[in-house]
Subunit: 289 residues, 2 copies
């Protein structure tokens, strides 16, 4: 038994023709916590400093959606399609109720699942994400991101250090520490996502960004106690999207972090895991904890 | 010895010609925590469900600014003037360093003090407040507030129940509970603020609201770890003012509460005091806790 994403064995689950890669580790009294990953991220993009402390109180389940890493199939071009895969995965594990940590793209999938299956999640943590109808979601072509993404000296994890963190010495030092932790896993790693993954997920962001007449009105259907988290300098999915979530979800607490961007949960992993643990420990019907 | 705002004796401190009313109670390893009160509020507007749990870990000092309750003098028409009184009060107590909980008007005074005397506060909690240059600060003439304020059936605490809370059954039930707790103090109460107090404080809000060319630029001088708190449905000082604080203070965590308005700290007193206690317990130079 291992309780770290540095060493946890990658498992596989077959559902019909579809094979899903995942990791499941940890133990404790809490409900299992499903992790839904960010744009192009694989199981190897979960910082052990975030997964491992949470695995002390519950099982954590890191899910590789269709078409990513060693999960078979192709990446759906809508959040609804990705939500269906996550839902099929939970069914195949015979999990009828769990908690969820949805990060970025994963936070949109979590919202879609909560709309589709209101009872599947007890409590939700939504980090660096946006509601349907949100704004400026993953526009990689904008200058603040394109400069780093087109820099040939920045490939793989180092580019994350630029686009997931703030351009301050303190945030960049934490970026380096996160990358070191991600590199501690040396065996049984997932293949890195290629352009096809990125293209399909970008299409899903564009569909998610479409504004309807009653913008954000459907958020009132998500009644779960929810903790919304973001860094105030997030360039990938700006923090105003988290404001809209916390203002329109009926039962959400918002926490923002200073001096940080999209990767605030990794930068402030001690605080984040402490807050997440306290939030998940609550059995109240209300989000405040 | 008492450790509750229901029973704590009101004390008086003379500084030259000026007399300040205050209450000081509680004990513990933490630095003293200075409470700076909201628009027209007196010492009797501090919910014991907020003061008393915090008094378990430190002394709490509830300060009655000049011209309020039994403090002598007249209410200054600027935050700077009110900050000078609070500063003189701390000097007379020989307190050179403390923590502060600034609520609404009190949060503006706390920011002014942090600008004037950068070392006076170790950690700051700013609830339901706004930065200098903020927006829609205490415009009592707007319909969402004036309707309640001009209702002859609502006088004293009951009007607070309307304008400090959200118009939902759940928030209104908490408003009733807060008012009941405030009424538990029956002896040694402060006189209620009259129109002169309100007029001077409104003048101070108008001066605070003036926007300068580099809006919010001076917030970078406030380096203290800061916890910013607000209810997402605050009609008196809308939550976007708290967003500006947390985006422009270099070292601030923001927490917002759902289903609540200006009085979120009272409505969610269990969560608020738990979070405030954890925040104040930290000795880190960074705000995240």
């Amino acid at each position: 038994m291992t309780s770290s994403n540095v060493t946890a064995v990658t498992k596989f689950l077959d559902v019909g023709e579809q094979r899903y890669a995942y990791r499941r580790f940890g133990a404790g009294p809490g409900l299992p916590l499903l992790f839904l990953q960010h744009f192009t991220g694989t199981l190897d993009n979960w910082d052990p400093a975030v997964t491992d402390p949470l695995a002390l109180g519950r099982e954590v389940i890191l899910f590789e959606n269709a078409g990513i890493g060693r999960s078979s199939g192709s990446v759906p071009k809508t959040m609804a399609g990705m939500a269906q895969h996550a839902s099929a995965f939970l069914d195949a594990l015979h999990l009828t109720r769990c908690d969820v940590l949805g990060y970025s793209l994963g936070g949109m999938i979590a919202q879609q699942m909560a709309q589709d299956r209101p009872k599947i999640f007890r409590r939700m943590i939504l980090v660096g994400t946006a509601p349907r109808g949100g704004e400026d979601i993953m526009h990689l072509e904008k200058p603040s991101l394109a400069g780093y993404l087109n820099d040939p000296k920045l490939l793989g994890y180092p580019v994350l250090g630029k686009i997931f963190f703030a351009p301050t010495d303190s945030s960049q030092a934490e970026a380096d520490a996160v990358i070191k932790r991600l590199l501690r896993r040396t065996q049984d790693r997932e293949p890195v996502s290629g352009p096809a993954v990125a293209q399909a997920q970008i299409a899903a962001f564009r569909e998610w960004e479409v504004q309807t007449e009653n913008r954000f009105a459907t958020l009132k259907n998500i009644r779960q106690p929810t903790l919304v988290v973001n860094g105030v300098h997030d360039e990938m999915i700006p923090v105003r999207n988290s404001y809209w979530l916390s203002e329109n979800l009926p039962n959400a607490v918002l926490m923002t972090y200073p001096d940080s961007g999209h990767g605030s949960l990794f930068q402030f992993h001690e605080s984040f895991t402490k807050q997440a643990t306290a939030f998940l420990a609550s059995d109240s019907a209300a989000a405040p904890y």
